[in-house]
């Protein structure tokens, strides 16, 4: 069952060929058997999942169930789940059981989708290797000596190991696309504002966006409509019409203009990654698309601008974790300052503390203009590059990451080396554009991701292009060994 497409699983659920309980039990059993080697889940909600599956089965039996009813998926532990511990990968929230659901969790719940559990992640989504989680690193199912990428490493590994047909995830600088790339699966981060951020624990509010991971573009498109409801509870959620993504997956690519940014093929790109991405571009060309060389001249500023803006926003977003109303509180505080400083020092890991300090610095008196204002100006220039590019082309394609999955510990000593993992993905977040990663080959035997960047609200076009590519190729069907 775990090698079937979601379309096929849904057809069988609705035809009652399989029950949601059977399907859910199948995945729960796989998680219990296989996940000890990957550590992709931090919480398994078995009892709740079975109850939800039974409820879904009775709805399915009545014959008027939602299209997604009965399908089990996993949620990244950044999304608040009522009554289920939501840790965000941090000791700070190890004891946090929210009395409310994130909007996207609620949407899936209302559709009858079953929650298998909560997936591991870098602490507060800060990391590109899943090594900053309080619950230990997630291992890449393709090679357990390698990282799965981050921050949505748990969701990516779970989907790659077929422990869930799909998983929710979030992307602030590449946290969906980079792990999707490193784990050989498909992931989409829609346009900023397309999906409600309500109940998604904030890292950097102007960059954070929820999204999805699955094994194919078709699977993503089936789940995306339920994710993208307009939500008045998020003031930055945009009330734009939502197309039916699954209905536009068979458009021919003839006439499609694909931009290929020269900046994405420079030094630092793994040669086999480059070869796989170029082969994918050739494939698109052979399917009728036109390749256009474009330039995004401010690309090199993405990483520095991001590492000012994201820490600045996070330094404020994480101030609410103060040991007063929820979360970790130190024992026997001497006074108020001690309560704050010790609760936060004990509750946050090193990378989180580092980013809070950098962010505080960038916003502090005397440095604000030199760092924060400058970074926001760079952000504008980066966005304008894309706006100009999308006057010429329909989509932009390139590598998702500079190389395939890397060994644990190889980049932890040098934060800057780690930050460069997101060199191709960050600009999309700064501009607020939608991005995808889909598998397009192997490098050193490990998956390579092709990044697809679309114009604002062009998710349908991106999914169609990815679907056409996946119809013509089989990279997305490659799975790690030893997951049977």
């Amino acid at each position: 069952m775990h090698n079937q497409s979601i379309a096929s699983l849904l057809a069988q659920l609705h035809s009652r060929a399989i029950s949601s309980r059977e399907l859910t039990t199948h995945y729960l059993e796989r998680i219990k058997r296989l996940d000890p080697q990957y550590n992709s889940f931090v919480t398994l909600t078995e009892d709740q999942a079975l109850k939800q599956a039974d409820a879904a089965d009775s709805l399915l039996a009545q014959g008027n169930a939602h299209a997604l009813c009965g399908l089990p998926i996993a949620h990244k532990d950044i999304f608040c789940t009522e009554g289920v511990r939501t840790s965000c990968g941090s000791k700070m929230l190890d004891n946090f059981i929210p009395p409310y659901n994130a909007t996207i969790v609620e949407n899936y719940l209302n559709a009858g989708v079953v929650m298998l559990g909560k997936t591991n992640m870098d602490e507060f989504a800060m990391g590109s290797s899943n090594e900053t989680s309080y619950y230990g690193p997630v291992k890449n199912p393709w090679n357990v000596g390698c990282v799965p990428g981050g921050s949505s490493g748990g969701s990516a590994a779970a989907v790659a190991a077929r422990l869930a047909p799909a998983a929710t995830a979030s992307d602030t600088g590449g946290s969906i696309r980079q792990p999707a790339s490193l784990c050989g699966i498909s992931g989409i981060k829609p346009t900023y504002g397309r999906i409600s951020r309500w109940g998604m624990i904030a890292f950097a509010s102007s960059l954070d966006q929820a999204g999805l991971m699955a094994t194919s573009a078709e699977d993503l498109s089936l789940l995306l409509n339920t994710l993208t409801s307009f939500d008045a509870k998020d003031a930055t959620c945009i009330d734009e019409p939502i197309p039916n993504y699954a209905s536009t997956l068979s458009q021919p690519l003839k006439g499609l203009k694909i931009g290929v940014p020269v900046e994405y093929f420079g030094a630092g790109l793994h040669p086999q990654t480059e070869a796989a991405v170029k082969a994918a571009l050739a494939q698109f060309e052979s399917m009728g698309a036109t390749l256009v060389e474009i330039t995004l001249p401010h690309s090199a500023l993405s990483v520095p601008a991001y590492y000012v803006i994201a820490p600045a926003e996070c330094s404020a977003n994480l101030s609410r974790f103060d040991g007063v109303r929820y979360g970790h509180r130190c024992k026997d505080p001497q006074d108020l300052e001690d309560l704050y400083r010790r609760s936060r020092t004990e509750g946050f890991g090193d990378e989180v503390k580092r980013r809070i300090l950098v962010g505080s610095y960038a916003l502090s008196a005397g440095y604000y203009d030199a760092y924060f204002t400058k970074a926001q100006q760079a952000r504008r220039l980066i966005q304008e590059d894309f706006v100009a590019a999308f006057k010429q082309v329909d989509l932009i394609l390139g590598p998702t990451c500079p190389g395939p999955a890397f060994a644990f510990g190889s980049k932890t000593k040098d934060p800057v080396a780690m930050y460069l993992e997101d060199i191709y993905t960050i600009a999309t977040n700064l501009a607020g554009l939608p991005g995808m990663s889909i598998p397009c080959g192997l490098a050193d035997g490990l998956p390579v991701g092709l990044q697809i960047i679309g114009n604002y609200f062009a998710e349908g076009l991106m999914l169609n292009a990815a679907r056409q590519y996946q119809q013509a190729t089989s990279f997305h069907t490659l799975a790690p060994a030893n997951i049977a």
């Binding site: 004891n95 946090f96 059981i97 929210p98 009395p99 504002g193 102007s206 003031a235 930055t236 945009i238 009330d239 090199a300 500023l301 990483v303 520095p304 590492y307 000012v308 330094s315 101030s319 007063v324 109303r325 929820y326 509180r329 505080p333 001497q334 006074d335 108020l336 300052e337 704050y340 400083r341 010790r342 936060r344 020092t345 946050f348 503390k353 580092r354 809070i356 300090l357 950098v358 505080s360 610095y361 960038a362 502090s364 760092y371 204002t373 400058k374 970074a375 926001q376 100006q377 760079a378 952000r379 504008r380 220039l381 966005q383 040098d414 934060p415 800057v416 930050y419 501009a431 607020g432």
Partner: protein
């Protein structure tokens, strides 16, 4: 980035940095700052800072009470409370 600056930032952010970690933290943060210093070379004359990816304006909510009393549910997950109040070490003005 020296030890004094780190302590000042740590105080602002309400974090403790153990004395034996200050050098390492300073070093790592300096690395990050060196990297972001690339921005300084950029000519940004006349470029409006961008706070938000979308050029949209805010919706405004109607002034209608929608939130019920949730004290019990939220106090149940609080580390210290009494008589409907959250407790903290004595606040001195």
């Amino acid at each position: 980035m020296d030890a004094d600056q780190i302590e000042k930032l740590a105080k602002l952010a309400r974090l403790n940095i153990a004395p034996d970690q200050v050098a390492e933290v300073a070093d790592r943060i300096s690395n990050v700052l060196r990297m972001v210093d690339q921005l300084q070379a950029l000519d940004t004359t006349g470029v409006a800072p961008m706070s938000h990816p979308l050029d949209a304006v805010s919706r405004l909510r109607a002034d209608v009470v929608t939130e019920p009393n949730v004290r019990e549910a939220f106090m149940a997950i609080a580390p210290a409370c009494e008589d409907g109040l959250y407790l903290v070490p004595k606040v001195i003005d």
